[in-house]
Amino acid sequence: MNQSPEEFEKLRTLLTLKRHEQPPPGYFNQLPGEITARIEAGESAPGFWSSLILALTIKPAYATACALFLCGAIGTGTYYSFRSSGGQPASQQMAVQPVKKTTEQPAIAAQPASINPNVVPIAFANTNPVTEPKVPTLFDRSTQQPIVPASYQR
């Protein structure tokens, strides 16, 4: 593909053909009316996102800057996530954390009832559905029963 001056001149002549391409007659008389009608119909009302997209359309450099900023923010976030979790991302750390076995009895439940039968365990500490915790009262000690875990009831 050489670019001889003669061929180049012919190409320029050939390209002038495009200047002779014209839209249908009367097209340019109607176009402004169509555009202003669409504007009046509210198509130009700018929202936040459309304004942002427009700004990015006018200046592609803004789009590049935004993309770089987002990449930087994601990179920084990932880096600090690694640092704070000692080399493992937080999400992974959560994923590999072993689930604690629930076979152990709570410390208060393992305590024999004989040690201190008057002690009423805190209601929320015992998840045993059999135990019906009573709220301790100063005035009605006669009805108060020692509460022991179900596993100790014979």
Binding site: M1, K18, E21, Q22, P46, T57, K59, A61
Partner: protein, 197 residues
């Protein structure tokens, strides 16, 4: 493109100030001033009248919605051109190869252009058919160029804009414009070699 002739009536910046205060009549006047050049550029980029029509309308509507941010650092003409050009390049990237040509008719003066007639006279005895065929080949060759190369050829060789104006519109320096123009012409010469011998 003919040399820029100052339009009669208020200048662009006066019309822009009025349009910024939601004076649609002023904006209508601005559209009338630049619609032909904007439409022509978008048509040469798409080779499709309907696409060019849609893009021209959308470009002017977008420009109106962004008019409040127009500070007057560049001319209104360059500013609206930039919106139209970037919108078209985005459109063409989405369209990729799914295009169908819908060409405008050639005006009567094309058949009487001696340079064009000389180009086709030895190819076919039927002048009108020759021009129509040439038009189709030329548009097909243009569509083979990349969007950036096609835009530079359109703005410079068809529309007659200077390298500096193209640089402002396409947001690149003059050297890049020249380089793109060189490669675009080289490719076009290859695609249209049958008509350039």
């Amino acid at each position: 493109m003919p040399a820029e002739v100052p339009a009669p009536g208020p200048d662009d910046i006066t019309l822009v100030r009025r349009a910024q205060k939601e004076d649609l009549a002023a904006y209508d006047e601005l559209i009338r001033r630049y619609q032909q050049r904007i439409y022509a550029t978008l048509y040469h980029m798409t080779s499709n009248h309907e696409d060019a029509n849609d893009l021209t309308q959308e470009a002017f509507i977008k420009a109106y919605s962004a008019l409040k941010s127009f500070k007057g650092d560049s001319s209104f003409y360059t500013w609206v051109y930039r919106i139209a050009v970037n919108k078209t390049i985005n459109f063409l990237k989405q369209r990729k190869n799914r295009y169908a040509m819908s060409l405008d008719d050639l005006d009567f003066s094309a058949e009487n252009d001696p340079d064009l007639v000389a180009l086709i006279s030895d190819k076919t005895p039927r002048r009108a058919a020759g021009l129509a065929e040439l038009q189709e080949k030329l548009n097909a060759a243009m569509q083979k160029l990349s969007e950036q190369h096609r835009m530079v050829v359109t703005l410079h060789d068809v529309q007659g804009l200077s390298h500096e104006e193209i640089g402002q519109i396409m947001d690149c320096n003059v050297g890049t414009v020249r380089s793109r123009l060189f490669y675009a012409r080289q490719q076009l010469q290859g695609f249209l070699s049958d008509y350039l011998k």
